[in-house]
């Protein structure tokens, strides 16, 4: 495929035409690179500027005297709603929500994919189809019932709290969000693992059966050790999705101390009290973006594969 461009016909003066072509191509590519980088660049430089410099200077100019002050303020002091303790608490809220949700949904997806490909039964395709469709529903269509259920569970949790001294996590917004993200994430994780295991040689499973390995032994000893690539893909995909979620977060943990990062950021930015501190806002946005950006930088290849796997099924 890549060989195509090089062998374009060599007309008289072909070298010049070719050179001109290359200049145009590189020029366009550079222009788009600027388009994609600009917002990040602006965010980054603004987050290191003082308010004074922002108001009187150029958006694109590098900070004259770079300062970490906005970052520190965003992390530890800025006001989210009425609480002014920075976004650090919300950052940890997100971590506490993301880690269990990713682990649980990935594990379930792996088991489901294993069953759906290696232990096929009548109706397996229908089961998979129903689970897959769940990936595509607009979450608005389940938002309300879930809110009702979580509300009831919360009240039940209070009863438990009063009776036994512990609510077993019922009513805890973080637990709620973990639950919600697992429920609406298993469609995707199942899809990933199913497609991966579909190509996984069934003869290995047969050989293990002949060797006397049980259902779970085959999963643990044969499937999982050979699933590293898809585990990485799934974990990254789920991590990004859940970290970036706003709809569920705002619906089920939209206020109070349990807010995840995205909701907190939105509150910081849209807060109407006092002077708007753009540099702090940008620093907060950068902090919210850093975990997923970091994952992207470290494992971009898997990130893209996950996105593709979510788009193209087999």
């Amino acid at each position: 495929m890549s060989a195509v461009a090089t062998s374009t016909r060599q007309a008289p003066g072909g070298m010049n035409v070719k050179l001109a072509n290359r200049i145009v191509i590189y020029g366009l590519l550079a222009l788009f690179a600027v388009f994609y980088l600009m917002p990040l660049f602006v965010m980054l430089v603004t987050s290191f500027k003082t308010m004074d410099e922002i108001q009187n200077g150029n958006m694109l100019a590098l900070p004259r005297a770079p300062t970490f002050e906005p970052w520190l303020k965003a992390w530890g002091e800025t006001c989210v709603g009425l609480t002014c303790a920075g976004i650090k608490g919300y950052f940890w809220n997100s971590i506490k929500m993301v880690v269990p949700a990713v682990l649980i949904s990935t594990m379930l997806g792996a088991l489901n994919g294993y069953v759906l490909t290696k232990w096929r039964f009548r109706g397996a395709t229908l089961v998979f189809g129903l689970m897959l469709f769940a990936c595509f529903i607009p979450f608005q269509s389940v938002l309300l019932p879930m809110a009702t259920i979580l509300g009831s569970l919360g009240r039940f949790g209070v009863t438990l709290q009063n009776t036994f001294g512990t609510s077993f996590g019922l009513g805890n917004p973080t637990v709620n969000l973990v639950f919600v993200h697992v429920v609406y994430g298993i469609g995707f994780t199942t899809l990933f693992f199913r497609n991966y295991y579909e190509a996984f040689p069934t003869e290995l499973v047969k050989a293990a059966q002949v060797d006397g390995a049980s259902f779970f032994q085959i999963f643990r000893r044969i499937m999982l050790p050979n699933s590293l690539p898809i585990i990485v893909v799934t974990v990254i995909y789920q991590f990004t999705n859940i970290w970036n979620d706003f709809l569920f977060a705002s619906a089920y943990a939209g206020t109070g101390d349990a807010m995840p990062m995205t909701v907190a950021l939105n509150n910081v930015v849209n807060t109407s009290t006092g002077v708007v501190e753009y540099n702090v806002n940008m620093a907060a946005a950068m902090i919210a973006a850093l975990p997923t950006l970091l994952v992207y930088v470290l494992a971009g290849r898997y990130f893209v594969r996950g996105l593709m796997a979510g788009a193209v099924k087999g």
Partner: protein
């Protein structure tokens, strides 16, 4: 052979016709038992909840869910609002915005994605550096994207002001504050976020095309342009379909971006149906109407996704 492994534990046959024991029947059912919780969760929390939402849309629910069926009042109101253009109802605004946003977002992402993929496929030095630059916005949340673009498009702080400083004082760009144009800023930010990913999909498709077909076409005398128009782009049809599905479902789900970028726009002028649903359900205490709008969103998705999934999952002849 017996010389090889005399240390084997032999399984001596006890019975000539062993019964199927409870344990082995449990073993047979184990795979289904493992799958069952996930499937049950899906049935209850996806399909059950969808039915619940449908039910609510036929009730008179306001602030709290009510379970008294009052008929299709909510739908009738939405239907009336669909034609309310003076002043436009929020629902009218939401669905026209959906049309504008959906069309432009999908079209521009596809066009730009394909264009960039073709450019990048021309043996570009530094492709490895450019690709991640085009793609990274997909890793960001809509909230961060919204915050970044809100700043960038702000007439007093962003692009406009910068160009003024550079001397182009007549430059005027205030779409983000303009109720007629605010939806286009959502398109810009949305395209910025997703087009790189679409590019990656197309690039993967291009790389998957059999090189010999290319060589054959070149020997047949096709120019580069003809090669792409007649051979390559038709071969990318499945990618177009996948990309369309991805974009369509992202578009209909878009909620966060509107909130973070425009806070709904002046007078709700940037709303999409997803924002309409959220606002009516949780802020305006019109739960039945919110549910009805959610059902309509779902139906739109169903119309697009179900035929696609069906064709993808149809039992392929072995």
């Amino acid at each position: 052979m017996s010389s090889v492994a005399t240390t084997q534990i032999k399984l001596t046959p006890e019975r000539t016709r062993p019964r199927v024991s409870v344990r082995s029947r449990l073993q047979d059912a184990l795979p289904k038992l493992v799958l069952a919780p996930s499937f049950a969760i899906t049935i209850v929390f996806v399909y059950g909840f969808i039915l619940w939402t449908v039910y609510l849309s036929f009730t008179n629910s306001k602030t709290f869910p009510s379970y008294v069926i009052t008929g299709s009042r909510a739908y009738q109101r939405l239907w009336r609002w669909t034609f309310d253009t003076d002043p436009p109802s929020s629902w009218y605004t939401s669905i026209t915005n959906m049309g504008i946003f959906g069309f432009l977002y999908i079209f521009i992402c596809l066009a730009l994605g394909l264009f960039l993929a073709i450019l990048l496929d021309q043996k570009i030095r530094g492709e490895g550096a450019l690709r991640p630059i085009y793609l990274y916005p997909m890793a960001l949340s809509f909230i961060v994207t919204g915050v970044a673009w809100k700043w960038f498009l702000d007439p007093g702080l962003g692009l406009e002001q910068t160009l003024h400083q550079w001397g182009w004082t007549s430059f005027h760009f205030d779409w983000i504050k303009n109720k007629d144009f605010v939806i286009y800023t959502v398109v810009i930010a949305g395209v910025w976020q997703a087009s790189g990913f679409i590019m990656a999909m197309f690039l993967a498709g291009l790389r998957g095309i059999d090189g010999e077909i290319m060589k054959a076409a070149q020997i047949d005398g096709a120019t580069t342009f003809q090669l792409y128009r007649r051979i390559v782009i038709p071969l990318l049809r499945p990618i177009f379909l996948s990309a369309f599905i991805v974009l369509a479902h992202l578009a209909i789900k878009s909620y966060d971006l509107v909130v973070a970028l425009t806070s709904g726009g002046p007078g709700g002028s940037a709303w999409l149906p997803s924002n309409f649903m959220y606002e009516y359900t949780f802020k305006r205490n019109e739960m039945a109407v919110g549910s009805a709008s959610a059902v309509i969103m779902l139906m739109t998705i169903v119309a697009i996704i179900v035929p696609y999934l069906y064709s993808e999952l149809r039992e392929k002849p072995r």
